[in-house]
């Protein structure tokens, strides 16, 4: 007996200042391990989690940004970025890590995991989800 649910993880915190971003990554990977249908949204300060060129050597703490690049290997390839949050922070897609996955249903073609969506589109995605986790 197995039941697949649509899980939506909503990230609204910057990395490193609090533990939320790291905890969310752990829980997302657990959900993926149980072969659930996983989506991850990055809203408000959550989009800072995906900024490229993170280097924590000066802080002496773990740089976990590389883990986001592994999400595709766990079939976590629906990452939604709210456009309004990007705009408010003066950021564009170029400022973020280019996260990709290989589509097994399309001859392993490399595709973008990141989708920039409007607030309205994101609200609709939340409506379509079975379970919502906030971080």
């Amino acid at each position: 007996m197995s039941e697949t649910k649509k899980f939506m993880y909503i990230n609204r915190k910057a990395p490193y200042g609090t533990i939320y971003a790291w905890e969310s990554l752990e829980v997302v990977l657990i959900g993926a391990a149980f072969e659930q249908d996983v989506s991850v949204a990055f809203v408000d300060d959550g989009i800072y989690q995906l900024c490229k060129d993170q280097d924590t050597t000066g802080l002496g703490i773990k740089n976990f940004s590389a883990t986001y690049r592994a999400l595709g290997d766990y079939d976590v390839n629906k990452l939604y970025i709210e456009k309004e949050s990007l705009d408010a922070r003066g950021l564009t897609l170029d400022d973020l890590m280019p996260l990709k996955y290989e589509d097994e249903n399309d001859d392993w073609a490399e595709k973008d995991s990141i989708h920039v969506v409007s607030s309205q589109e994101l609200a609709e995605l939340f409506e379509q989800s079975d379970v919502l986790f906030n971080f």
Partner: protein, 102 residues
């Protein structure tokens, strides 16, 4: 008498930076640390507020916290000075006291 103000929260998450700017006396220094460094970036919805505050206050930002978060110095508001940990220490020595906005 001068005060070193530190702000460690993102201006998009908390109103700590707004409160600091509103209540810091002219001639003071503001050091943005941890998630507070996002307040130093140009082109954001908070940039104008910071630029305006720079008429009365000197702004600094902690370099290691910028690097950890992937924020290039080229993305900072012009005039904000980047300091390292020893620069942080110097600021605490140069000022009479510190106020940590949480």
């Amino acid at each position: 008498m001068s005060i070193l103000h530190t702000v460690n929260k993102s201006p998009f998450d908390r109103n700590s930076l707004d409160a600091c700017v509103r209540l810091a006396a002219k001639g003071g220094s503001v050091l943005l640390i941890e998630d507070g460094i996002y307040g130093a970036m140009k082109g954001t919805s908070k940039s104008d507020m910071v630029t305006n505050a720079m008429k009365d206050l000197t702004f600094y930002v902690l370099g290691p916290d910028l690097q950890a978060r992937g924020v290039d110095e080229g993305k900072l508001i012009e005039g904000i000075k980047v300091v390292d940990y020893s620069g942080f220490v110097n600021l605490t020595v140069e000022n009479d006291k510190a106020q940590a906005w949480l």
